[in-house]
Symmetry: C2
Subunit: 343 residues, 2 copies
């Protein structure tokens, strides 16, 4: 499938995506739906998605926002983790991919997150029995650089206590988190594209770059290098989850900027450039699709995306007629790969 100048990706998936709602949903959803066969949709709206009714209504709004792309794009819906009954989970399961657990107060719209992991255990037991995966934003509220490392003990506790529960460490940023994958059979991980590229130096080593500010924050070069090496080597438990997280420009620039990198528009071209640069293009298919399909037994639409090694400049912004404006990652920069135009 790989030639020097083009690459076909079969059923590419984004296992961690923020589509927001309202005007933002309208603006950003088509950008992901155009190049992905499916995406795991985060539930941290305001209020969060905590009922089947909300989930189905949100799914419907997503499908309407992507319009004709809905035929080849599957939103994999999630519930915001709360204590749930067996009845609710069983009823939701046909429409549900996973539950997303946020510790209280760790990121955007996590005010409804859980305070103590013990309170989660009855629901985790139900999920284990039903076969519903658990997706975790694994950070404490400690010192910003230590939050993921401090949470690793919780991952180990959960993986041991619920050995049949499929647990995904979302958007990992440290070599230490990566090392857990080899120690616990039921632990998996997603990693973003930007955490394979940037370190804290890129965020604030020169001028401060608010559009690279995200949670978890990018870490040390050694961490980035370990994540990148695992992705390039197609580590079988590591999946692409972009964590593309759009905010209006005014919320990213100014006094008190929101966390999130908006990577959706350039996700696959940027990854093709990265894997190509490191001579690992043949492993991109596994990273962006095969691993997730195997781990989660997914059946996304049969969609193939062709990428071309041809220069493409990332738009400076994406905006709608109302003036909503979002700045993408690497805005205005030229990439060496692009998605082939529809034939």
């Amino acid at each position: 499938m790989t030639s020097p100048d083009s690459l076909k990706l079969h059923r590419p998936l984004d296992m961690h995506l923020h589509l927001r709602d309202g005007a933002m949903l309208q603006l950003v959803a088509p950008l992901s739906a155009a190049s992905l066969a499916a995406a795991v949709i985060m539930p941290n709206l305001v209020p969060p998605i905590t009922s089947l009714e909300q989930l189905l209504a949100y799914r419907q709004r997503i499908l309407e926002a992507v319009g004709p792309l809905a035929a080849s794009f599957q939103p994999l819906m999630t519930l915001f983790f709360q204590p749930y009954s067996h009845a609710l989970l069983a009823a939701a399961q046909p429409h549900l991919f996973a539950l997303k657990l946020y510790p209280h107060g760790v990121t955007t719209n996590s005010d409804s997150g859980i305070h103590h992991i013990q309170a989660a255990e009855p629901t985790l037991a139900l999920m284990q029995d039903l076969g519903i995966p658990l997706l975790v934003h694994g950070e404490t509220t400690g010192f910003v650089l230590d939050r993921e490392a401090q949470f690793l003990a919780t991952y180990q506790h959960l993986a041991t206590r619920f050995p049949r529960l499929r647990i995904v460490m979302e958007h990992i940023t440290t070599a230490a988190a990566l090392s857990l994958l080899d120690r616990f059979e039921n632990l998996f991980a997603t990693v973003t594209a930007h955490h394979l590229v940037i370190t804290l130096d890129d965020v604030l080593g020169g001028l401060l770059q608010p559009h690279l500010f995200c949670k978890p924050i990018a870490k040390r070069p050694q961490d980035r290098d370990a994540l990148l090496a695992a992705a390039l080597a197609a580590h079988p438990k590591l999946m692409l989850g972009s964590d593309s997280a759009p905010h209006p420009q005014h919320a990213k620039e100014g006094c008190g900027c929101a966390a999130g990198v908006f990577s959706a528009p350039l996700l696959l071209p940027r990854l093709a450039q990265l894997f190509d640069h490191h001579g690992a293009l043949p492993h991109l298919q596994a990273f962006v699709s095969d691993h997730a399909i195997r781990i989660h037994r997914l059946n996304p639409p049969d969609k193939t995306i062709t990428l071309l090694r041809q220069p493409w400049t990332v738009p400076a912004s994406y905006q709608d007629a109302s003036g909503l404006r979002v700045i993408p990652w690497e805005a205005g920069q030229q990439l060496s790969w692009q998605i082939a135009p529809p034939t």
Copy 2:
């Protein structure tokens, strides 16, 4: 001099201050001159201050900017470190407090900084002979959190090679830098007010706060705590150097923000609040004046500032008629101390 509700500071000094030039100088210089007896003025203008003529002209512009406050405010002028001749240094010495050394590329307007410390040694030998202090922005261009730690070996080399050269580690941010003070007789340090208060958590642990983005970047709680403990204990080799570094609001908020915390307007009230909170008010005089006068044998104007334990709200911004606008540290927040109005 200390009572529960007021504090007199005799000849308070800021041993590290950016006044800029032009309209910014006009706006910010009076704010420092009003409450300080003297301040060490950084030379990193564009182009940097590298001749006696530039130094004297800049000094004159500062005195004009502070107007009638010039009678009680002494700008302690610095040259931007370059290889200089004995003739130039000897001629400049009556008008010169110190030379400020910037490694190339480490902070605002450091493009003229030195690339290799060896190239500096002939000039350092001259400074040692003449008794001119060396002020150093001690960072490498390595990973942002390690830059100060990586530079410590250079401090040790300089302190050993030039044992009679008075070397000031500027704006230290780590416990490791602090520990050098006790090992080398000729090493001294300044610390900012904000590095006694904030950690990296305050910069990006919640929302991203561009007005707390500075170089060196704030570090871990353990580092902040070590610096604070030393300041509160009136460590005899540690001096206040605010590194107050104003930028126009548009350069601090937006895509690619400049480094610097503008602390000048609240410097003494904020320190009074901090020392008071920790029961260390009697040590503030030493930290903001006595140590520096002793170490550098200064003779600043005889000026006393009275601080009152009375609520004061930091202005949201400082601006001039042309629209130049600067956001201070803790803008809009209420402090528990204020400078007594002139009687």
